[in-house]
Amino acid sequence: MTLTGRGDTPTREVPVEPGFWLLVLGDMTMFAVFFGSFLIEQRNDPAVFGAGRSDLNQLIGTANTVVLLTGSLVVALGVKAVLDGRHEIGSRYLLAGVGCAGLFTALKAVEYLQKLDAGITPATDTFFTYYFALTGIHLVHVLIATGLLWHVAQRARRGHAVGRPWVQAAGVVWHAVDIIWLLLFAVIYLAGPLA
């Protein structure tokens, strides 16, 4: 929290800058629209969606949720450390976050391969188009977030100055990706009809 402004009133900052939140909240809203569309389609064809959901690997889904949440923890600790000037430990936390992303991706790959092995593709039915498309777009977001974490961690580790907005941005993007996954997990995996 930065303390600026007149008198005793602290001015709270906005992480990175206001325009950045247009991107973050806009992206989260776009996913919300995707989920809404998914739910509308589900109402039209609960049998197909129920059958599809029953074929999902809920264990991996749950595990991946825990992986991303753990990633959020280490990323939050890492961002805090780097901003406090503790670059060595901060970068280690952030790299732990990268590790979580790697684990998430590996589990996701196993999940996809299981589906493809069973002959299930994005074109199988509407449920699986949504499943592959939404988890796929989310995965791309995970990779982008990972790239940001990696960039910040490397600069911190080498003792370079790391711009405050970049550190904050890396954290916010990661947490946005986590939030999107929490919603995705609930809507696609957990809730709704089962065959």
Partner: protein, 253 residues
């Protein structure tokens, strides 16, 4: 014959009146974009009725042919309007490029890249309009042929959104290079990233006959089309304001 290009620095050396004329021309180029936006949506969605609802690739050839048999003149007029709009895309693209030049200087990479991408995306507005006009030309032909033309037109219209995405990325880069925000406000850079990337999922429409990734679906059609409209509006507002600021600076002298 040697053609002297009218670059900003050359205009700078000319009298004040030339500079004002240059800015007025730029504003007219931008207005072309406003009309382009209106005609694109009016033509495609309004006259041709392609928004209500967009025909699904899962429909049979007979059903697709019926779309053209039921509204041949609407579709013809719609595509004519759509095509007229695409002509106006050219000056619009140039008006954008002129603003990027204010940030990076004339004859530099970003403005010229934007122009090239603008021409590329121009093609993907003109050609589908003409193909769909041809589809509406003889509604009583064999239904498979109409379906083929319809598919071709829609694939041309919806699948190649990537040039637009790259244009948006160029604009985002230009925004972040403009550190004082003299030309492009910061939010505009972030908006370009958001909207530009939202155009991309549609390229997978080629694998699907139904669902959100089909050429009438949420991810391939609705989101890119709506975001495209918002994108054009944002550009019109931002470029318009920048031209106004320059005009005000001129008269203040």
């Amino acid at each position: 014959m040697v053609m002297t290009p009218i670059t900003p620095d050359l205009a700078e050396q000319s009298p004040l009146l030339d500079r004002q004329r240059e800015l007025r021309l730029q504003r007219w180029c931008l207005h072309a974009g406003t009309f382009a936006l209106i005609f694109l949506f009016l033509g495609f969605g309004g006259f041709a009725q392609f928004f209500f609802p967009p025909p699904s690739p899962g429909l049979s050839a007979t059903e697709i042919a019926a779309v053209y048999q039921e509204n041949p003149n609407g579709i013809r007029l719609g595509m004519l309007t759509f095509f007229t709009a695409t002509t106006l895309w050219a000056p619009f693209v140039l008006s954008i490029s002129r603003q990027i030049e204010l940030v990076t200087g004339p004859r530099s990479t970003l403005p010229q890249l934007q122009v090239i991408l603008g021409i590329g995306s121009w093609i993907f507005l003109i050609v589908p309009g003409l193909v769909l006009a041809a589809a509406a030309f003889r509604p009583d032909r064999p239904v498979e042929i109409t379906q083929a033309l319809h598919d071709l037109g829609w694939i041309l219209a919806i699948m190649p959104f990537a040039p637009f995405t790259l244009q948006a990325i160029v604009l985002a880069v230009a925004t972040f290079l403009d550190r004082e925000g003299a030309v492009f406000p910061r939010w505009f850079g972030y908006l370009n990233i958001l909207l530009g990337l939202s155009f991309l999922p549609g390229m997978f429409l080629i694998f699907f006959k139904d669902g959100p990734l089909a050429y009438n679906g949420l991810l391939a059609f609705w989101i890119p089309v709506v975001d495209f409209g918002i994108w054009m509006l944002a550009i019109i507002v931002v470029v318009g304001r920048s031209i106004s600021r320059q005009q005000a600076a001129l008269t203040a002298r």
